[in-house]
């Protein structure tokens, strides 16, 4: 595996215990055990919890007419939930070409995340080829919530590893009908996604009025268009809220504590 080294060596001395993550290093958090940094632990748990929704994808894909191998290939290779569900819908509905185009279009939000992650991860060559596959809502959210590059990378890696593994195993299990054994909803796992995203952007929302405005506008735009647009598209539309924010207030408000460390 080309990416094993994946930046693991650099900056190991400054793991940033107690300063990373949502909640901004409140005193009660204390230092973590030596085994796992906090960004890594947060990422691992988020990946495990959110990855279970692969059960729903596996079941939906097979119900739509994909074979188990095709469902697993999508999770292994496309590895982005919104696009995968959209393609399953298209296979069920028949419009394969339009459906494929739509599924790919939904992947564009990962390209937008990449713009931010490029600076946080600073990966090149083979490591970048591997890291690219890991760009998802979850890994972006965890990386973004950290202070400093080392913590961001560690959070990204942990989320990628645990979500990739869980999502793919859950897809396989779901395709074999494991979804009928018990609903992830009964464990409240459907709340994990929204609660985690909110928790992870919380420090950004506290960083300034522009962030809060952009977050609110993005959420409002997505909700308002949800009834009229195919699933996934409303969330991409929210990028226009970010564009409006960037054009209206190109300078971050001066608040040295809130942003990522200066570089």
């Amino acid at each position: 595996m080309a990416g094993r080294a994946d930046g693991r060596g650099d900056g190991r001395g400054r793991q940033g215990h107690g300063q990373a993550g949502p909640g901004d290093g409140q005193p009660g958090d204390g230092p973590d055990g030596p085994a796992l940094s906090r960004p890594a632990r947060d990422g691992l748990v988020l990946g495990l919890a959110v990855g279970t929704s692969g059960l729903a994808f596996g079941a939906a894909a097979v119900a739509a007419g994909l074979s188990t191998v095709q469902a697993c290939a999508l999770s292994l290779l496309a590895y982005t939930g919104a696009s995968q569900f959209a393609l399953a819908d298209a296979v069920a509905g028949g419009g394969l070409i339009a459906g494929t185009a739509g599924a790919i279009m939904l992947g564009s939000r990962n390209a937008l995340y990449g713009l931010r992650l490029a600076d946080l991860l600073r990966v090149r060559g083979a490591v970048r080829l591997l890291a690219a596959q890991g760009v998802t809502d979850e890994s972006t959210a965890v990386a973004l919530a950290q202070h400093g590059r080392t913590a961001a990378r560690s959070g990204f890696r942990a989320t990628f590893a645990s979500l990739y593994l869980t999502w793919n195993l859950a897809t396989l299990a779901g395709a074999f009908g494991a979804g009928r054994l018990g609903s992830p909803q009964s464990f409240g796992l459907d709340v994990v996604g929204p609660a985690a995203f909110l928790a992870l952007i919380w420090p950004r929302l506290r960083a300034g009025w522009t962030e809060r405005g952009v977050g609110l506008l993005g959420a409002a735009m997505a909700l308002a268009t949800t009834p009229f647009l195919p699933p996934g598209v409303p969330v991409i539309l929210a990028a226009f809220a970010a564009l409006a924010g960037a054009l209206a207030a190109p300078e971050p408000e001066l608040q040295p504590q809130a942003g990522p460390a200066p570089r």
């Binding site: 409140q26 906090r38 919890a49 992947g107 995340y113 709340v191 949800t226 409303p234």
Partner: protein, 105 residues
């Protein structure tokens, strides 16, 4: 069947290409002030939108699932109390699960 495989593989290739494209944008583009600010704000906008959509819709219809909403509200309370990340998601999932188990919501 061949058509389905083609759709699967083209989707996978397209999704990967988009992920890579974002990471591979040249540094000098990202150094422009408004692009940099846009890149900073994009995850805030998209993840806020995702939170709202996942919390308040099912498929294409807006809907309120009381247990889910209660779970998310519990998460907000935990965040206001400055709870660590893992506590926030355990509180959120636990609230929704408990309300469903009790048949309250």
């Amino acid at each position: 069947m061949t058509g389905t495989w083609a759709a699967v593989l083209v989707t996978a290739a397209g999704c990967y290409a988009l992920k890579l494209a974002g990471l591979a944008v040249p540094r000098r583009v990202l150094e422009r002030r408004w692009v940099r600010r846009f890149a900073e704000l994009v995850p805030v906008a998209l993840l806020a939108a995702l939170t709202a959509v996942q919390a308040l819709s099912t498929g294409q219809s807006l809907s309120v699932d009381p247990a889910r909403l209660a779970g998310l509200s519990a998460a907000v309370v935990a965040l206001l109390l400055r709870a660590p990340f893992l506590v926030v998601i355990v509180v959120a999932a636990g609230t929704a699960a408990a309300l469903r188990a009790l048949g309250v919501a």
